[in-house]
């Protein structure tokens, strides 16, 4: 479906936009965040196509960002450098780089003269300050360019006065404005002159895509040098005076709480320890070093309340999901039906940087530093928890060490605030790694059932019922949806929030007759498990189940998987990525027994992805030995072809696809949390089998196709679904058995001895010098 350009409130003509030069001593150019693309604002939603074809999750996120009508501003300093405080969070997805490129493009400035920082919580932006659903670039694309274009216009006008002559005669390039006679001024010289005493409304035109010199060309991340020299500062690297290391001793059961500390006095006198106190999530200890916090956590003797899932195991949750699943509508009709039921286990959403935050809560005021994707909600909820007004809580956003949806929540910031209040001293609070998979946010377990009917060589029906453990959306998105419900397309307002998100994000891109895909959460309480929309919400699991079934349908109709998909696909965008992947990946080449190719597609976020992999399931590969590691089938080659709409930074898009592949592959093969008796067994990276070098394909290639789209799409999550599905499809083709439980190694004997639950964290070894190389 094409985007229908609509006339937003500040939009004058197709390429003309209105913004402001803000009155003040320096040049500040501003634009309305409501300039976000508005593809579906006025589009009626017919009942036959699925909702996301016309109005998807990103339209919803952009829509929610519109009515707040707030300004984002670019400042040009006396050196001619541009500064922009991005109301979003950088967690590795490359948005600071992409936004720097957009500003550099419209301002005719070198990218390294653009400085993008992360804005602290700005309550007036409401929903506009949430980094999720891969929506950042989509919603910032227009406003950022407008503000930059306004700054350039103001600089040119100032230069015209300084140099004499008219704006039309001047040329701006690389931060310098030149006149035909060869005289020139730098942006820095023009900037002071360009500042206005009062705010003025300005109309500008944006550059055409064909005029772009920076946007669309690969650009290295703006923080790459800091990252490789160790200078990049994460929350735990900040030097906040007196904020001493703090860790939390947690209950043996999931979400258990502390009743009493039996040896508080003893622990308080341990070396380095300064404070010990009960907080809502356990017992916090503050010490001179984190090592001494670990020792203190291990020494604590605590009476615990039981947790929220006490005796339940994965098989009980599976039974619960199956029992509560919405029934299929089309009856099973003998040989004409193709059916499958797929179980997706819990998996930890933890990044490599553990949950952490710095907090200083003293004398009725609080200051927080953390990697937060929804800082406004964090500010409100932390204020409420501390009994303060939101205006007394300052929330600073720090670059995060990965997020994958988890940092939509602010668990560590809230804990740090509680601990700092209890101690009356600033804290630098960090989770021990062992707590991350055990007590941190997980991707919800789900059971997906699919039934399709085939008659006379055609697919007549395709039904999918996805029953899931409830996903926690209480990070601001939910509240906003409730507020916006009346304005949403027909049919959405009566659904629960999760059902709406599912409907907005899930799209079956095939002409399979009657298609229904429904989500339900048999137990909707979100406080039983700690969940979040971990990269990403539903699509990897939904796509894996449906693409495996598509392969089954092709087999039943005796067609090649690629030819079958091509025949039934609705969208040319998807056909194009599929064809390209098949061509580049030499689809159908002959492979030895025990190895196979697999291919899968996915359509979401206004783009499409096709992934082709080759898998080796031969015993000599599966059983290869790596110390304390999970090996198993190996993906030897992976190819991702993506159409993500207008591309700002191809290098960044490829990086995101590589990361998405890494997630999708391990979710299919090795990565999960085992729930046994109310406890997750995994407790660190030696237990959680996330992708490692010994699982990495020898060859990885990503092609970002020239897009027909005129707006950028989301890339942070787009690569996961088709990757996971392609790996599952390849495994089925190599082994002749369709996997129905993910990861496929879930029922194999554990590759580790579970670590103790009391003490809740392991001791640090002392034999590190025996492993040098």
């Amino acid at each position: 479906m094409e985007n229908h350009p609509t006339e937003g409130p500040s939009r004058v003509s197709r390429r003309s936009f209105v913004g402001y030069v803000i009155g003040g001593a320096t040049l500040i150019a501003a634009a309305d965040l409501g300039l976000a693309p508005s593809a579906a604002q006025a589009v009626p939603i017919p009942s036959v196509p699925q909702v996301p074809e016309l109005y998807d999750l990103n339209d919803f996120l952009s829509h929610c960002a519109m009515p707040t009508s707030n300004l984002i501003a670019i400042e040009v300093d006396e050196k001619g450098h541009a500064h922009f405080a991005l109301p979003r969070m950088e967690v590795g997805q490359g948005i600071t780089t992409a936004v720097s490129m957009l500003i550099a493009e419209e301002l005719d400035l070198p990218v390294d003269h653009v400085h993008v920082t992360l804005a602290p919580a700005r309550p007036e932006l409401l929903f506009n300050q949430l980094t999720g659903g891969s929506n950042t670039i989509i919603s910032m694309y227009t406003p950022v360019r407008v503000a930059a274009a306004i700054a350039r216009k103001a600089l040119l006008e100032a230069a015209a006065i300084l140099l004499g002559g008219t704006v039309a005669q001047l040329v701006s390039k690389g931060g310098v404005i030149s006149a035909p006679d060869g005289s020139s001024v730098t942006y820095g010289e023009a900037a002071a002159k360009a500042a206005k005493p009062t705010t003025e409304k300005v109309e500008v035109e944006l550059k055409e895509t064909s005029q772009h010199a920076v946007v669309g060309k690969p650009h290295r991340r703006v923080d790459a040098r800091e990252a490789v020299t160790g200078k990049k500062k994460f929350a735990m690297d900040l030097d906040v005076p007196d904020a001493l290391p703090t860790m939390v001793c947690r209950a043996p059961e999931l979400n258990g709480t502390a009743v009493e500390i039996k040896n508080k006095g003893d622990v308080e006198t341990m070396p380095g320890v300064t404070h010990v106190a009960i907080i809502p999530t356990g017992v916090a200890v503050r010490a001179k070093t984190f090592g001494q916090c670990i020792d203190a956590v291990r020494a604590l003797d605590v009476t615990w309340n039981s947790g929220t899932v006490t005796t339940m195991s994965a098989k009980d949750i599976r039974a619960e999901l199956k029992a509560g699943q919405i029934p299929l509508a089309v009856p099973k009709i003998g040989a004409t039906s193709v059916e499958g039921e797929f179980t997706f286990h819990f998996r930890s959403g933890s990044a490599l940087e553990p949950n952490c935050a710095v907090a200083d809560v003293r004398e009725g005021k609080a200051t927080i530093w953390g990697g937060l994707k929804s800082p406004i909600t964090a500010q409100e909820k932390i204020a409420a928890a501390l009994g303060l007004l939101p205006t007394d809580v300052k929330v600073n956003v720090v670059q995060g060490g990965g997020s994958f949806g988890r940092k939509l929540f602010f668990d560590a910031a809230l804990e740090a605030a509680h601990a700092s209040k209890a101690f009356g001293a600033p804290v630098k609070l960090m989770w021990h790694r062992a707590d991350e998979p055990r007590q941190g946010r997980v991707h919800p377990m789900a059971v997906s059932r699919v039934r399709a009917t085939v008659l006379a060589g055609s697919v007549l029906t395709f039904e999918q019922r996805h029953a899931s453990v409830a996903t926690d959306f209480t990070h601001g998105l939910g509240e906003r949806l409730t507020a916006e419900a009346a304005a949403l397309p027909t049919g959405l307002s009566n659904l629960t929030f999760s059902e709406s998100i599912f409907l907005l994000a899930t799209e079956m891109p095939y002409n399979f007759g009657v298609v229904t895909q429904l989500l339900n959460e048999p137990k909707p309480a979100v406080d039983r498990f700690n969940t979040s929309s971990v990269r990403n919400i539903y699509s990897p699991d939904v796509a894996t189940a449906s693409e495996l079934m598509v392969d089954q349908l092709a087999k039943k109709l005796k067609q090649d998987p690629v030819a079958f998909r091509r025949r039934y696909l609705k969208s040319d965008v998807v056909k194009r990525v599929l064809d390209r992947a098949a061509e580049l990946g030499d689809w159908g080449r002959s492979m030895p027994a025990g190895t196979a190719q697999g291919i899968a597609i996915h359509k979401e976020y206004k783009g499409a992805t096709a992934v082709l992999v080759e898998i080796d399931c031969r015993p000599e590969t599966v059983n290869r030995e790596v110390r304390d590691a999970v090996t198993g089938p190996r993906i030897t080659k992976a190819l991702v072809v993506a159409d993500v709409g207008l591309v700002i930074n191809p290098a960044g898009v490829k990086a995101q696809m590589m990361g998405g592949f890494s997630d999708g592959m391990c979710q299919a093969l090795t990565y999960s949390n085992h729930l046994v008796g109310g406890q997750f067994l995994e407790a660190s990276w030696d237990n959680s089998a996330y992708t490692r070098q010994w699982n990495t394909p020898f060859e990885f290639e990503c092609e970002v196709m020239e897009s027909h789209g005129s707006q950028p799409g989301g890339v942070g999550e787009a690569g996961v679904a088709a990757s996971m599905a392609a790996v599952a499809c390849a495994y089925a083709r190599a082994t002749g058995e369709m996997p129905t439980e993910f990861p496929i190694n879930f029922h194999e004997p554990l590759h580790f001895e579970p670590k103790s639950f009391i003490p809740s964290v392991p001791e640090s070894p002392t034999d590190g010098l025996a492993y040098t190389f």
């Binding site: 590795g92 790459a224 490789v228 160790g230 060490g401 997020s403 990086a655």
Partner: protein
């Protein structure tokens, strides 16, 4: 309080800290050297990888008391100074060339591992193989593994040319 002296990034440092505190916390919490990252504290994620006397080691799993006054510890902050010239270490340059880092949290450890691995195979008189790359244990939760493999090969060539 016991006092401990060792060589850090080319300088002699002395710290007053209990014997059993692991070097990672001496670096980060006492000395404010934050390049080495915490990712597990049990020698499995390798985010803290640094060098001791030119070899890779994991400071989260070594007590400060086990280090001698003449032991040379190099963190990512000091890596560039171990290579000829004023610029970055060739492995850091290779990381930039391949635009490896995403969030960047694992990358100091990845680079320190890469340099040690290249030096190790060079001492064995050979070049890095796919099997060598498979032995790298550093976790990258952003999934930059493929670019890491490419960057190590580039870095190895530059190191061999003495850059």
């Amino acid at each position: 309080m016991p006092s401990h002296t060792f060589q850090l990034n080319g300088e002699t440092v002395t710290v007053d800290v209990e014997d059993d505190v692991r070097i990672l916390w001496v670096l980060r919490d006492v000395l404010g050297v934050t390049g080495p990252k915490y990712g597990c504290g049990i020698n499995v994620c390798k985010a803290c990888t640094s060098h001791i006397n030119g070899k890779a080691f994991n400071p989260c799993s070594v007590k400060v008391a086990d280090i001698d006054a003449d032991d040379e510890i190099t963190t990512i902050e000091g890596l560039a100074d171990t290579a000829p010239g004023d610029g970055l270490h060739p492995m850091q340059e290779a990381w930039l060339e391949h635009d490896v880092a995403q969030c960047g949290y694992c990358q100091p450890g990845q680079i320190m591992t890469a340099v040690a691995l290249v030096n190790k195979v060079r001492k064995e008189g050979r070049a890095i193989t796919e099997a060598d790359l498979d032995t790298i244990r550093n976790v990258c939760r952003c999934g930059t593994y493929s670019r890491i493999r490419e960057a190590i090969k580039t870095g190895q060539d530059a190191m061999a040319r003495g850059l």
